[in-house]
């Protein structure tokens, strides 16, 4: 019922970044909360060695499976290692996994989508049918199968996740490019003899990144989740690697009697993914004002 949107003067709707900070924060409360949480996680990850009271891999057998207490806020695991410290260090792995999976998927999928959407025709058909094949696997299934084939491990898990995610980016990018491709400024550039390459990079790409960025920010979280799931079923990170999913997996043995061994990593995954999701949601509203209008 806001039929005027399409008639809107561009100068009013397209300048979200000029807004006053205060107004920005109140209007994007969840986004700001997400950013705050995420910065905490990020800072924790970066400065892990300086802020953790214990070494994450220091084994103190006499202190095994201690419940949370003043010395060990999150308790200790079955080697007497401080769970809090491990969770903090685990942030490094998880963030690295999230980031690299996302980037890798974008790096593979983005250009495919760009080329596919820009040229269309049989190029598009071939590239998209190939992506379809990857998309035919239910989520998580392909990464599982790939890591199973390559053998467990952090790198393999990341690669597997990226390989199974790139088609999403190819699709998203393609969709955005197809919309942009119809814009007159592309035709205008063509009539000026600008080469395909330059058009793709300078004109199409900057204008079709938004959905990819939004999706990427979301996937950052899903990648953390998925990597944790892989670790959980024994296909991801292995000891002595410190990763939240692995921490949860190894605590399964004593989870029912020593619940805290899985709780802290669980909460860590949850909060991080939540924060990333909030950021993604916020980004979508901010970068794509049409979407955020009434919601």
């Amino acid at each position: 019922m806001s039929e005027t949107m399409e008639h809107d003067q561009p100068s009013e709707s397209r300048a979200p970044f000029r807004l006053r900070a205060g107004a920005f924060i109140t209007d994007n409360r969840l986004f700001v909360v997400g950013c705050l949480i995420f910065s905490v996680v990020l800072i924790a990850a970066i400065f892990a060695p300086f802020i953790t009271p214990y070494s994450p891999s220091k084994i103190v057998m006499s202190e095994r499976l201690l419940a949370p207490n003043w010395e060990h806020w999150a308790g200790t695991d079955r080697f007497g290692r401080d769970i809090m410290s491990r969770v903090v260090f685990g942030a490094r792995t998880s963030l690295a996994v999230g980031l690299s999976v996302m980037l890798l998927a974008i790096v593979i999928g983005g250009p495919i989508g760009l080329i596919s959407g820009y040229f269309g025709g049989w190029v598009d058909t071939i590239l998209m049918r190939i992506s379809d094949v990857f998309l035919a696997f239910p989520p998580l299934l392909l990464p599982i199968a790939i890591t199973a084939a390559l053998g467990p491990g952090l790198w393999n898990a990341m690669f597997a996740l990226a390989v199974s995610w790139f088609p999403w980016y190819a699709r998203i990018m393609r969709g955005a490019v197809m919309r942009i491709r119809k814009e007159l400024f592309i035709d205008a550039a063509k009539t000026m003899g600008v080469s395909h390459m330059v058009i793709m990079v300078r004109h199409v790409l900057p204008n079709s990144m938004t959905p990819t960025i939004v999706q990427g920010s979301m996937d950052f979280g899903y990648a953390i989740l998925a990597a944790a799931s892989l670790s959980f079923i024994g296909l991801g990170v292995r000891p002595p690697g410190i990763e939240w999913g692995l921490m949860a997996a190894t605590s399964r043995v004593q989870f029912l009697s020593h619940y805290w061994t899985a709780l802290a990593p669980g909460i860590a995954i949850f909060t991080t993914v939540l924060a990333v999701n909030l950021i993604g949601d916020g980004l979508r509203d901010i970068l794509d004002p049409k979407h955020g209008e009434d919601s």
Binding site: P10, A15, F185, T191, M192
Partner: protein, 331 residues
Amino acid sequence: MTVPGPPLLKVCNLTKHYPTRRGLVRAVDGLSFEIRRGETLAIVGESGCGKSTMAMTLLGLTNATSGSLSIEGSVPQPISSAVRTQMHGNIAAVFQNPQSSLNPKMRVEALVAEPLKTALGLRSIELRNRTIELLADVGMGEQHLRAFPHKLSGGQLQRVAIARALALKPQLLVLDEPTSALDVSIQAQTLMLLKRLQSDFGLSYLFISHDLGAVDFIADRVIVMYLGKQVESGNVADVFSKPKHPYTQALIDAIPTINPEKRGHFALLTGEIPSPLNRPVGCSFSPRCRHRTDVCCSTEPGVTISGDDRSFACFNPIQDTFVKSSNHETI
């Protein structure tokens, strides 16, 4: 205004068919015309009649199905996708919607500089000077250089688009409905600017529009298209004052005008434009035409040339005397 000599561009039998899932769309079907130096040729017709498609083939944005082209009296050669090269880069375009014809992520400076960089290879100071010069030509100042498109009004945007089009010093500017997305008050600014530029630089325009008022104002000659075909062409004043083809007549009559003399006159054409997918047999206009005779429904009318640049495709052309009320329902 028109410069004598061979026409700048002569297009013969331009045809563009889009094969689609539902059949062949004959968007442009055997269109021939010529544009002389310094002249404005207008193409008018209803939505979907193939105006933009025709422009796109000339601009090399889509491949013509067939047709040939001769430049300044040269030997006609088939229109290829390299039509821009054929034209030696002498063609540029301004599109309907200025908002979407400028990359929103680029500043005005970069937008105008782009063709200078890619085609002319200008750099640094030279580039900047030429950019400023071009903007000045369209009446914009240096203060706009750093602006992003969304900061500019529709009229300003269209000026930037025109400046860009002028960057390569083209002889022919294709203007695809350059004013129809603009507000009335801005439209006038743009039309005036175009007119000025034409006389300053001796440009030729291919002016596409369905606004007969604008066409009447800016064009020298006009082609009326219906369903991918030319139904009538000639000098603007002649065509608009003494239309030969019933469709031209209907088009003129359908335009609501504020001209106090014509107020109240309001002609009505029945039926809708058929889809170019299943073009009627015979004359495409026959189902909507009140002059149609049996022959119209079976045979396609050929082009009749009636001296002084006039031509039309109709079996029953309207006679010179203005006989409106007998043809059309008037309110």
